[in-house]
């Protein structure tokens, strides 16, 4: 639970401080955001399943973001950045949807 609270504090701090992101990081942000969303939905589902764990949540969040950024970086340098990004978004999108479906089943029993 403390991980979720820490995450909220971080979100608010980021919104209030509004630091500028260096230009070389900009291309990795969209896919990193999608990866982070995947981790958040996974955490939410784990919470409803009753097996939430702070450590696993934080590690999965950070590693998701780093791996996503790495894939885009690698793809950009190999000349297939757009295709790799599409692949990552498709896989993460499917995961987000099925996690959201599991959450929905937990909450609405439907």
């Amino acid at each position: 639970m403390i991980a979720a609270i820490g995450l909220l504090v971080g979100v608010v701090a980021g919104l209030l401080l509004q630091p500028t992101v260096p230009l070389w990081l900009q291309p990795y942000l969209p896919i990193a955001v999608v990866a982070a969303l995947d981790a958040v939905f996974g955490g939410l589902r784990a919470l409803l399943d009753g097996i939430f764990d702070d450590r696993v949540f934080i590690v999965s969040f950070l590693s998701n973001v780093v791996v996503a950024a790495l894939i885009v970086f690698l793809g950009d340098h190999l000349g297939v950045g757009a295709q790799l990004s599409t692949g990552v978004v498709v896989v993460l999108g499917i995961r987000i949807f099925s996690n959201a479906a599991a959450i929905r089943r937990h909450i609405f029993k439907a």
Binding site: A3, G10, I51, L62, S98, N99
Partner: protein, 272 residues
């Protein structure tokens, strides 16, 4: 497809289940580290989201600002053109008064020259051409900007208008205006980005080309010339809209005073 099944059926990170199966003791250091990392992750998340959104907002702001500016300046130009027309009428009147009765011939000559040069408005019978992009090209506007756009996609370009205008001159037109912009000896039809410019004024679709002249002769000559064949092929092949109407009375605006800054008339000595 094992990979797809893996993705579809077990989207929850297996490490959650593993951690639940074998709980590890929570240390003080671990807790602090978790909170710190969580704060960092949250901040990174919100900062990324807001910085992805911001540039777009800034660019649309700039776009809107530029659009306002263009509209404002265009209005200013129009106002000044109206003022110009009024002043020109005054000048003409004063000229006629100053020249007196003997100057009637001179002022009449000035009027004729002004009409021929395109400075003064004219009216007469003629042809009205309405040209427009093909329906498919219109749909493509605002679609995927990365979609292939070749030159045969049914969009009209400045070169097309140039060919039509040239054909009309060749067919015997005496005065031509495009969307109310009178063509003179100094006019240029060119493009900037997606827009077609006539005398640095951007045109909006559809393009209406009005030409004063003997309408039946002009129509026959135009159709017989290469421009007529070109328009016909554009209409048949890429479905560009091109309607020709004859009109008994067209009114073309004047282009206003033509200002020559460098060119000087030859003196009689220089001409000799």
């Amino acid at each position: 497809m094992t990979l797809l099944r893996e993705v579809m059926e077990r989207p929850l990170d297996p490490s959650y289940a593993a951690a639940a199966a074998s709980p590890h003791p929570r240390t003080r250091r671990g807790t602090v580290l978790t909170i710190l990392l969580a704060i960092v992750a949250g901040a990174a998340f919100s900062v990324s989201v807001s910085s992805i959104r911001q540039p777009q907002r800034a660019s649309t702001q700039v776009n809107n600002h530029l659009r306002d500016e263009i509209e404002k300046r265009t209005k200013a130009v129009e106002r000044q053109e109206t003022a110009n027309a009024a002043l020109r009428a005054t000048i003409e009147l004063t000229q006629r008064n100053a020249l007196g009765a003997g100057g009637a011939q001179l002022s009449e000559q000035a009027r004729r020259l002004g009409v021929a040069a395109g400075e003064l408005p004219v009216s007469g019978p003629g042809l009205q051409f309405t040209l427009d992009d093909a329906p498919t090209a219109q749909e493509a506007v605002g679609g995927d900007p990365r979609a292939d756009t070749d030159f045969d996609d049914g969009t009209l370009y400045d070169a097309d208008l140039q060919i039509v205008v040239n054909g009309l001159w060749a067919a015997g037109a005496e005065a031509i205006a495009i969307n109310g912009q009178r063509l003179t000896a100094l006019s240029a039809i060119r493009s900037a980005g997606q827009a077609i410019l006539v005398d640095f004024r951007a045109l909006r679709r559809p393009y209406v080309v009005e030409a004063i002249g003997d309408s039946s002769r002009m129509q026959a000559n135009f159709a017989a010339g290469s421009a007529g064949a070109y328009v016909q092929s554009m209409r048949d092949n890429v479905h560009i809209r091109a309607d020709i109407e004859t009109s008994k009375k067209l009114v073309l605006p004047g282009a206003g005073q033509l200002v020559l800054r460098a060119a000087r008339p030859l003196t009689s000595a220089g001409a000799g």
